[in-house]
């Protein structure tokens, strides 16, 4: 039974990672590597939390998180797409900027609790029928609506990328923007739209942390999850379906230290806390050793200029 509860909690803990990873998948499919996921998550976290505190409305809180992420994405897109700035450094700057903004605005809400009505919206809502499936029902279908939203976005993203026409156009851009351009695809418009959408989705991961996971404002609430999400994109080979598995696996790793300490596991909690990071490294190394084929978009990280030859 306790294993079931652990797995259920792993999904809870993996949800912020799932959103962040899905958003980054979308961005990277357009050929842009955004290392600012941590910053986007922080923007989403503070955007959602502050709007929730001020308006007491869940819908506004979610919209504000999306908007905050999209604005962060807009800065990134303007610099890397229009001004063709270095994507790595722009992403790092976005993280610094997001940390600053979240810290600045967060000062006003330090240690304060979310209104009860918002907390109530995100209470557990077992899904009819599905939640009664033995084992799977308990693990997957007795959660809050935010978690179900994660499932939906992952699946929708998969269908979009692999079955739809705009998805094909997007993948073409990520592989070879010059080919896409010659095919009549508006490369920059696609990049903008998908970076904005991707950033907004990543920001939802931050909002999950501040609205659901720890509904009290605390400084640096993301604690490096944005970076793990960047690694998870590689781990999941840019595939939204695999991202689901990856995110929940890492969610489990995130909480295992605390759980093991509860059962007096003979290893310091602080050492166990290293596990997610160590596993990320192990995954990175293994995926580089055993990469049969490089799944990353071929034009990832390269700016596009039509008159380049």
């Amino acid at each position: 039974m306790s294993v079931l509860i652990f797995l259920k909690a792993a999904i809870h803990a993996g949800t912020p990672l799932l959103f962040a990873t899905l958003g980054e998948v979308l961005t990277e499919k357009s050929g842009n590597l955004n290392l600012g996921v941590e910053g986007l998550m922080l923007l989403g976290a503070i955007g959602g939390f502050s709007a929730g505190m001020i308006t007491q409305s869940t819908v506004v809180a979610i919209l504000a998180a999306l908007l905050a992420g999209a604005l962060g994405g807009l800065i990134y897109a303007f610099l890397t797409v229009t001004l063709r700035a270095n994507q790595v450094v722009t992403g790092l700057s976005l993280t610094i900027f997001g940390t600053g903004v979240a810290g600045f605005v967060g000062k006003l809400f330090m240690g304060r609790n979310l209104p009860e009505n918002i907390k109530a919206v995100f209470g557990a809502r077992p899904l009819p029928i599905l939640s009664r499936i033995p084992v799977l029902g308990t693990i997957f279908f007795q959660h809050n609506v935010f978690i179900y939203g994660g499932y939906l976005i992952a699946i929708a993203l998969g269908i979009y990328l692999y079955k739809s026409k705009p998805g094909l156009n997007l993948r073409t851009i990520g592989e070879n923007p010059h080919a896409a351009d010659a095919s009549g695809i508006n490369v920059n418009r696609y990049k903008y739209l998908h970076i904005l959408a991707g950033s907004a989705i990543s920001a939802l991961g931050g909002a999950y942390l501040s609205l659901v996971y720890v509904p009290v404002w605390q400084e640096n609430v993301t604690a490096g999850r944005g970076w793990i999400a960047v690694a998870l994109v590689i781990f999941s080979m840019w595939n939204p379906y695999k991202a689901i598995a990856g995110a929940y696996l890492f969610g489990g790793l995130d909480i295992i230290g605390f759980r093991l300490q509860q059962i007096n596991f003979p290893l310091s909690q602080y050492i166990i806390d290293m596990f997610p990071y160590i596993i990320t490294i192990v995954v990175l190394v293994f995926s580089s050793i055993y990469k049969k084929r490089d799944h990353s978009p071929s034009a990832l990280g390269v700016s596009f200029f039509r008159e380049d030859r």
Binding site: R84, A85, F97, A102, Y270, Y277, I278, L284, V285
Partner: protein
């Protein structure tokens, strides 16, 4: 309609003029933000300067920030020159500090010069080895170094916290989790009121400048950064150079860790870095990966951080404003490169214009 085309190379002075204006542009944008908060931006900016240089104490604080920022940036520079994106300086500093603290606590009986030298060597060695781990995997399996070095930062932080709460907890602190303070023997001496790190910084800048610009090793680093294929083609031992460079990169971080524990904080905790490992990345980037500009940009950022501390008390502006300002300067500097590399033309709208339905 505006058209964009690539430029031929701009003369260097114009390039730097554009870059300098980008920083001013960021300060202007920030002024609007400060105005909105009800502050006079000129007062705030001038307070940041006086907060950094107004008294000897403040000046010392500023230099104490500039030293680790610049040395760390030098370490990052050698890696970045090779396009090895080492963003693990934070962890390299902490691991260096860990090694230095090991000697400071376990060999406190040694004479001061010997102990300090041991601490410096130990710090550099462990910092260097810490950076060698991702370098090894990069060389062997082309593993992504950006994420690898970043994950190592978090591991280093957890390691220090583990020491602080576990084996190295000071028994005299009545349960308060803190690593013991260093003895006098383990403390860096001062020269002119500031720890001797400033002398080390000057020496390192000169050495780094010569190595990067005049030696075969520096040439090899630069060529590898441009193209590994070309480097191999020219007969360079690419892997050996990458590994040695990363060892040096990490060792400089480790040395900073030693200096921060021994010269500034007198003990080990995760706060000895104060985010220097990340800020130094920005310093390196803004210095355009050029050694002689590192101390200049390093000082600028020291002022920015020290000034932000000052305005926090003087104007009740949260310290996170420093992060926002850093972000703004970076965005602006990043964007300015566009105007260095491209030209904009205004094309007059010609009369007849029929674009297909």
């Amino acid at each position: 309609m505006i058209r964009i085309s690539k430029r031929l190379e701009l003369p260097p002075y114009l390039q730097w003029l554009i870059r300098a204006s980008s920083i001013i542009f960021a300060l202007i944008i920030m002024s609007v933000f400060l105005l909105a908060l009800g502050h006079n931006p000129i007062k705030v900016y001038s307070a940041m300067v006086t907060g950094s240089f107004g008294t000897f104490f403040r000046f010392r604080k500023t230099i104490e920030l500039m030293i680790p920022l610049s040395i760390t940036a030098l370490g990052i520079l050698v890696a970045f020159k090779m396009k090895f994106w080492n963003i693990g300086a934070e962890g390299q500093i902490l691991m260096g500090a860990f090694a230095a603290t090991f000697f400071a606590l376990k060999f406190a009986y040694l004479p001061r010069p010997l102990l300090l030298i041991l601490m410096a060597i130990g710090g550099s060695l462990i910092g260097g080895l810490w950076a060698l781990i991702p370098a090894f995997f990069k060389v062997k399996y082309a593993t992504n170094e950006t994420l690898f070095t970043l994950m190592l930062n978090y591991i280093a932080i957890k390691w220090i916290i583990y020491l602080q709460y576990g084996p190295w907890k000071d028994p005299q602190q009545a349960g308060f989790p803190k690593i013991p303070d260093f003895s006098v023997n383990a403390t860096l001496p001062t020269l002119g009121g500031i720890h001797v790190g400033w002398l080390i910084l000057i020496a390192l800048v000169i050495i780094a400048h010569i190595v990067m610009n005049k030696t075969k090793f520096g040439f090899e680093i630069a060529v590898i950064g441009e193209s590994k294929n070309t480097a191999k083609y020219a007969g360079m031992s690419v892997n050996k150079v990458i590994l040695s460079t990363l060892f040096i990169s990490g060792a400089l971080g480790g040395l900073v860790g030693m200096m921060q524990t021994s010269g500034v904080h007198g003990t080990l905790s995760t706060s000895i870095t104060g985010g220097i490992g990340y800020t130094a990345i920005i310093v390196t980037w803004l210095a355009h990966v050029k050694v002689h500009l590192i101390p200049v940009i390093g000082l600028l950022f020291a002022v920015l951080i020290q000034g932000a501390f000052f305005i926090q008390t003087a104007f009740q502006i949260p310290h996170s404003v420093a992060d926002i300002l850093q972000g703004m300067i970076l965005f602006s500097a990043l964007g300015s490169e566009f105007f260095i590399n491209y030209r904009l033309h205004l094309v007059k709208n010609r009369r007849a214009k029929r674009v297909v339905k």
